[in-house]
């Protein structure tokens, strides 16, 4: 009973608009006092120290820093231009460029969000000028912005791995195919819709794209090489096993600095801005991690683990029932909670259940990550839509946004179904990158 009250109290605070990290700390303190009395703060210092001393989490500020520098460099602008040259002639070409751009950025950095704004600022005016429908514009930008989590490297994967005691390298390897599949489904939807209803996404006039081949190639090379180099450095060093995730992230962060330096785009003020953002987001994520660790520790003492186990047993249907139940919990939590809170609250409870049921923990992690990705798009708490809102033109309404993201949520559902039907999508790559 007490564990349920903890959730009730948490939601009351969270919906009253108190920051999530602080809500979790307050609930932990209130309910922890009954158990620990005067010892409470001594005990709660443990989760704080635990978070602060976690080697695995040290990759997070580095991945965030990479994204923050990239976002402020000219790399995005050149990339979008180059993609437009190649993809602009296809049905829905601008939307395809947007998705491709988001995918490349996702593979070169660990966070979503910041990227969405950068891409959105360029893609929205272009698509509107070409006469794209508002809901398609909104959906494309939001869905593209959410790719950062499922395409490695990803900060979510780092946090997940640290909680579930899984190898980051393995999880990154496992998420490559689901990530590619998701991009493919997004592209498929855009193509299909543009072909069936050409008025929704009119083809661009050829002027501006009709460049001599030499110039085309030059633009493409200068635009594509930097991000591809970064991807090769980070994922390459990680998957080739040259470095742990934290080391790979440091290589990526340093590489990003070197690249922006080579393009003469690195300035003192840009570096300061990037460091400022990195510090803010890192502190924000880590304090949720700390708050979540406090919350789950009190949740466990008051008998929360047993409660969840009993519920799972009550549902029955073996492993299929267990997986369905856990994923549904994550999906519905995604409507109202942000990803850090979801991972922090549920993974510590789920991981032992999944392990003892003999379910492949890497496969399960992929299922959870795909479901968490929908939380970026599902209202009312939809970070992707919040970002879009901050840069959207006046006549693009919430209605457009919600209608626009629906098909993309369905595409995510298809990825989930594919993963459920063919677990090898998640387990095959780690198994060939691994093994004598």
């Amino acid at each position: 009973m007490i564990p349920l009250l903890m959730f009730a109290a948490l939601f009351a605070l969270v919906f009253a608009g108190i920051p999530v990290a602080f809500s979790m700390m307050i609930v932990a303190v209130a309910f922890g006092y009954a158990v620990f009395g005067d010892m409470l703060f001594l005990q709660l210092y443990g989760p704080l120290l635990h978070t602060a001393s976690n080697f695995v989490l040290a990759a997070i500020p580095l991945f965030i820093f990479m994204g923050a520098v990239l976002e402020r460099s000219g790399i995005a602008k050149r990339l979008f231009h180059a993609l437009q040259i190649w993809l602009g002639g296809l049905p829905g070409g601008l939307a395809l460029s947007t998705i491709a751009m988001c995918a490349i950025f996702a593979a070169a950095s660990g966070v979503v969000g910041a990227v969405e704004i950068v891409v959105g600022l360029m893609a929205i005016p272009a698509m509107r000028a070409a006469g794209y429908r508002n809901d398609l514009i909104a959906g494309t930008i939001c869905a593209g912005g959410s790719l950062g989590t499922v395409i490695p490297p990803s900060v979510i994967v780092v946090v997940y791995a640290s909680i579930a005691q899984l190898s980051i390298g393995q999880l990154f390897a496992a998420s490559i195919l689901p990530g590619v599949l998701m991009v493919a489904f997004f592209v498929g939807y855009v193509l299909l819709r543009s072909l069936r209803r050409p008025d929704d996404a009119p083809v661009l006039p050829t002027e501006g794209r009709a460049l001599p081949t030499g110039q085309k190639l030059k633009i493409t090379v200068t635009a594509l090489v930097p991000p591809l180099l970064l991807i090769a450095m980070v994922l390459g060093s990680l998957l080739a096993g040259a470095a742990s995730a934290t080391e790979a992230a440091a290589v990526g962060a340093a590489g990003t600095l070197v690249l922006t330096c080579m393009f003469r785009e690195l300035s003192f003020s840009m570096l300061r801005a990037a460091l400022g953002v990195t510090l803010r987001i890192t502190a924000m994520i880590m304090l949720i991690v700390a708050g979540g660790t406090m919350f789950t520790s009190i949740f466990a003492v008051t008998g929360g683990g047993g409660l969840v186990r009993d519920t799972v047993e009550m549902i029955g249907y073996g492993n299929a029932g267990l997986i369905a139940f856990l994923l549904l919990v994550v999906f519905f939590a995604g409507f109202v909670l942000d990803w850090v809170s979801i991972v922090l609250i549920f993974v510590p409870i789920f991981a032992p259940l999944v392990r003892s049921a003999g379910i492949d923990p890497v496969w399960f992690a992929m299922l959870v990550l795909v479901v968490i990705q929908t939380s970026y798009l599902t209202p009312p708490m939809a970070p992707s839509i919040f970002y879009l809102r901050s840069i959207a033109p006046k006549d693009m309404t919430y209605g457009h946004m919600y209608r626009g993201v629906l098909p993309f949520v369905a595409a995510q559902g298809l990825v989930l179904a594919a993963l459920l039907a063919v677990p090898e999508l998640a387990t095959w790559l780690p198994s060939i990158l691994v093994g004598l």
């Binding site: 009253a16 602060a52 080391e247 440091a250 502190a283 109202v336 942000d338 009312p380």
Partner: protein, 178 residues
């Protein structure tokens, strides 16, 4: 009052600047480790401890700074329907009456741990490098102290109606940056 405002803001900014430098230090330390291990075949004994300690320091050096910059995720689709004044009073109350005492108590614990580690010469438990722990503990304590004071300052700003929950005056990307 003026002294409190500028003092707390100054402390948060100072720790924030230190936190930003720490990020650069961490990049440098990890790069050194990669080069040492793969180019020279001689991994350092300290890279592991240093990286988690720097990361832990970043969190707490940035805690007050992130609060000042309103970087913490709020789920405000419901609460925004309430009158602004109510939102401000609620935030002021939660920050001053709950979060400030909670972080204050944690500061106390953190400071006594740091002091004890200093007095006993506590070293890292499992590391072959076995560094002294008190500098790391002291950074955590200092960061928590600034965090606690910043909560009081934020409460004051809400109370006086000078700040709106979820909005930062000097930065327009204030949506949850995840």
């Amino acid at each position: 009052m003026h002294f409190f405002r500028t003092g707390v803001a100054g402390l948060s900014a100072l720790l924030g600047a230190a936190g930003q430098l720490t990020i650069l230090a961490m990049i440098a330390a990890m790069l050194y480790e990669v080069v040492a291990r793969y180019a020279f075949g001689a991994p350092t004994l300290w890279a592991f401890d240093i990286s988690y300690m720097l990361n832990g320091s970043i969190i707490f050096l940035g805690a007050a700074y992130s609060l000042r910059k309103e970087a913490h995720v709020r789920i405000d689709f419901l609460s925004q329907k309430a009158p602004l004044r109510i939102q401000q009073l609620l935030n002021a109350a939660v920050y001053a009456l709950l979060m400030a005492p909670v972080t204050g108590a944690l500061t106390w614990v953190a400071a006594s741990k740091a002091l004890k580690a200093f007095q006993t010469g506590e070293v890292e438990t499992v590391s072959p490098w076995a560094p002294l722990m008190w500098p790391f503990y002291a950074v955590i304590a200092l960061g928590l102290l600034a965090f606690c004071l910043q909560f009081l300052l934020e409460a004051l700003l809400y109370l006086r109606g000078e700040k709106i929950p979820g909005q930062t005056p000097d930065d327009h990307h204030c949506a949850p940056e995840t």
